[in-house]
């Protein structure tokens, strides 16, 4: 603690002083700007600025390139990082990021006199008990309809038939699947309670069974030979595969397909619980299940768990690492650009000591000299920075159009970030011009002029 204080205090103080120094410099620059504002609109002055900028074309080009390159790299990296994050998110983080799926499996540990390899199946009472566990936000159970394989059951209407996956679930299932309802509604508590023959179909199912423009809500379809009334249609941003599904009430399915009270998967969301809280909830439910069905509470195969809280935490840390990496590199490039600009401005002003002396002797005020140099610096960094910004955005567009990869999706930056980076560089350029300009404007003209 003491060491931290001893080291940190002077560092913080130094940083504060530096910021203060810069703030004062900007305040002075602002004052000069206010006093010399007419120069900004003076064609004469701009001609003067252009002629000095154009005088040393190589140096101007090098400065401009270093600035444009800094901004370009920053914009491109930020955009690419964003695209990478988007891509990873889209490919992996499916469904609710706070969702947990607990599915019945086969025992892998001997327990209570039973050998391994025994098949476990849950039932409605498991669901009812699990629902009372603290920390559970939404819960749904899924009944595994017997005989569902190779993509599901035949679903028919008006002589058309195709196999679609049939999910027999509770009404809360959509809190996990996160489909977008585009017509009608999802399953309701009433559907479950009254064992209605309601069905919610995916967009691809609708397209297959219904004519374009036909309203499917209220129409009847046959699912594995049983008639269901369509109550809603959903789409899914994850793509068409997700839309090849049909949802029916779990209670109806248990009855219609003679499933008794069996349940294959318990699905739940945990609100904004942390990873460890989620683990505790899972352990409690697993404990209940092991107690009722006689398997070891440590048996990972008897209950197979998919825990999105843990998965998304892992991805979040990955995104964090990617974006930190990108920001560090981008800031580094920007810093290199700023140092480059400062260097070049310093040399440029040094070289012009004599010129500044002449101008002073001929009646230029120090303020007009400082402002002229700042004007040059800001103009140069502004133009080059804007070019770099435009180049970076263009490069991102090209990547978006030509690079076909699931790992890069929408590689864009918000224009605010790009513009602030450019403004930051322009301000740095102004600062880089200001200090040597001020020193030069203070120079005694006779000394400057004697300097051969």
């Amino acid at each position: 603690m003491i060491v931290l204080l001893v080291l940190g205090l002077p560092l913080a103080l130094g940083l504060l002083l530096l910021l203060l120094y810069i703030a004062i410099a900007f305040a002075r620059m602002g004052f000069i700007g206010v006093m010399q504002w007419r120069d900004l609109f003076s064609l004469d002055r701009w001609q003067e600025v252009f002629s000095t900028i154009g005088r040393n074309k190589l140096r101007t080009a090098l400065t401009a390139i270093s600035i444009a390159w800094g901004i370009f790299v920053l914009v491109f990296l930020l955009g690419l990082g964003r695209g990478l994050s988007n891509g990873v998110e889209k490919s992996f983080a499916r469904d609710a990021t706070n969702g947990v799926w607990m599915s019945a499996g086969k025992t892998s540990e001997p327990y209570g006199g039973f050998d391994i390899g025994r098949r476990i199946m849950f039932d409605n009472r498991d669901y009812d008990r699990a629902k009372k566990v603290d920390g559970v936000e939404h819960m749904a159970a899924q009944h595994w309809i017997r005989g569902q394989r190779w993509g599901g059951f035949m679903t028919r209407r008006n002589g058309k038939a195709n196999a679609f996956a049939i999910n027999a679930v509770h009404a809360d299932a959509n809190f996990l699947a996160k489909h977008d309802i585009v017509q009608g509604r999802f399953l309701s508590a009433g559907d479950i309670l009254e064992k209605r023959k309601s069905a919610v179909i995916g967009n691809m199912v609708r397209e297959f069974l219904f004519a374009p423009g036909e309203d499917p809500v209220g129409e009847w379809i046959l699912v594995a030979g049983v008639p269901f009334e369509v109550v809603g249609v959903f789409s899914d941003p994850q793509g068409s595969e997700q839309e090849r599904q049909v949802y029916v009430p779990v209670t109806t399915a248990q009855l219609a397909f003679s499933g008794g009270d069996k349940i294959g998967t318990i699905q739940l969301t945990v609100g904004d619980a942390s990873a460890s809280q989620t683990e505790a909830i899972i352990d409690q439910i697993r404990g209940q299940l092991s107690e009722r069905h006689g398997f070891s509470p440590t048996d990972k195969m008897a209950v197979r768990v998919q825990n999105n809280v843990e998965v998304s935490a892992r991805f979040r840390s990955l995104f964090w690492m990617i974006s930190t990496f990108v920001v560090v590199i981008g800031l580094g490039t920007l810093a290199a650009g700023v140092v480059g600009v400062s260097n070049i401005m310093m040399i440029a002003v040094k070289e012009r000591t004599k010129e500044i002396g002449v101008r002073k002797a001929l009646g230029a005020t120090p303020r007009s000299i400082i402002f002229m140099i700042i004007q040059e610096a800001v103009f140069l960094t502004g133009v080059a920075g804007t070019l770099g910004l435009a180049g970076g955005v263009l490069a991102l567009q090209l990547v978006e159009r030509w690079v076909e990869s699931d790992f890069i999706v929408n590689p864009r930056i918000d224009i605010g970030t790009g513009v602030s980076a450019t403004i930051f560089l322009v301000l740095a350029g102004a600062l880089a011009g200001y200090f040597p300009a001020r020193a030069a404007a203070k120079v005694n003209p006779i000394h400057a002029l004697r300097d051969q």
Binding site: L43, D44, Q47, E48, S51, T52, R55, K354, E355, G357, V358, R359, K360, A361, L362, G363, A364, T365, P366, R367, S368, N444, P445, I446, L449, R450, Q452
Partner: protein
């Protein structure tokens, strides 16, 4: 035109200070043509700085026209330099990336005169120094004499009342020097006060009056006469 009364100037070097100008006292009347002479280290550059309002002094009084030049703000000083004084330098100090015309017009830029107008005026002054045909050339394309004439045109364009020339012929051959001095006399005849800092006795000889500096002091008329005699009789140099 200008008067210095007991002007003192110190340069602080580390802990001790160097007394560069000691009680400088002299007066220059309107329309005079004066040479300031002195060996190097005699303080003549410092004096020129003070006269040109490019440097401050420590005590005494410097009066330029009706104004006491003392502790002026940088912008006031710039204003006086721009309106009252024209500078001519040994190394010309033209801006190399500007044409002769643009160089001549520069003081008017700082007076806020519009480009077309100032170029027109500058052309007139270039004509006056005989360089009308060289208006579009940059300094690197000109001879030393031509460059100095451009510099003189630039010094004149602000319609100054005082021309301060720092070794204006120092970088020129004797024939060109004579031409430049002729131009200076001509300018003086038009009513402008001219002060030339030089170590060249021939240049000083063309002026109406010479002020000699030695060790930061104005030499008395007798000592000055002796020095002038020494300068004009090389044989006596060894004796002094």
């Amino acid at each position: 035109m200008l008067r210095l009364t007991k002007v003192n100037k110190y340069y602080r070097v580390g802990t001790h200070s160097l007394h560069v100008l000691r009680d400088i006292d002299f007066e220059v009347e309107d329309g005079e043509f004066v040479a300031i002479m002195g060996s190097s280290g005699s303080g003549k550059s410092t004096l020129l700085n003070i006269l040109g309002i490019l440097d401050d002094y420590d005590s005494g009084e410097y009066r330029l026209g009706d104004t006491i030049i003392r502790d002026l703000s940088e912008s006031r000083a710039a204003h006086f330099r721009n309106r009252l004084i024209g500078f001519v330098f040994q190394s010309f100090n033209l801006l190399p990336f500007k044409t002769a015309l643009e160089n001549v017009a520069l003081p008017l830029y700082y007076q806020g005169v519009a480009r077309r107008k100032r170029n027109q005026i500058a052309m007139g002054f270039l004509e006056r120094v005989g360089l009308r045909d060289w208006a579009d050339h940059t300094p690197s394309e000109m001879s030393g004499g031509q460059k100095q004439r451009v510099a003189i045109a630039r010094a004149l364009i602000g319609k100054p009342r005082l021309i301060l020339a720092d070794e204006p012929t120092g970088a020129l051959d004797s024939e060109t020097s004579a031409q430049i001095m002729e131009l200076m006399s001509e300018i003086n005849r038009s009513g402008i006060t001219v002060l030339i800092v030089t170590h060249d006795p021939e240049v000083a000889a063309r002026c109406q009056r010479t002020i000699r500096l030695k060790d930061g002091k104005v030499m008395s008329p007798e000592a000055a006469a002796a020095a002038a005699a020494a300068a004009s009789h090389p044989g006596m140099r060894a004796a002094t």
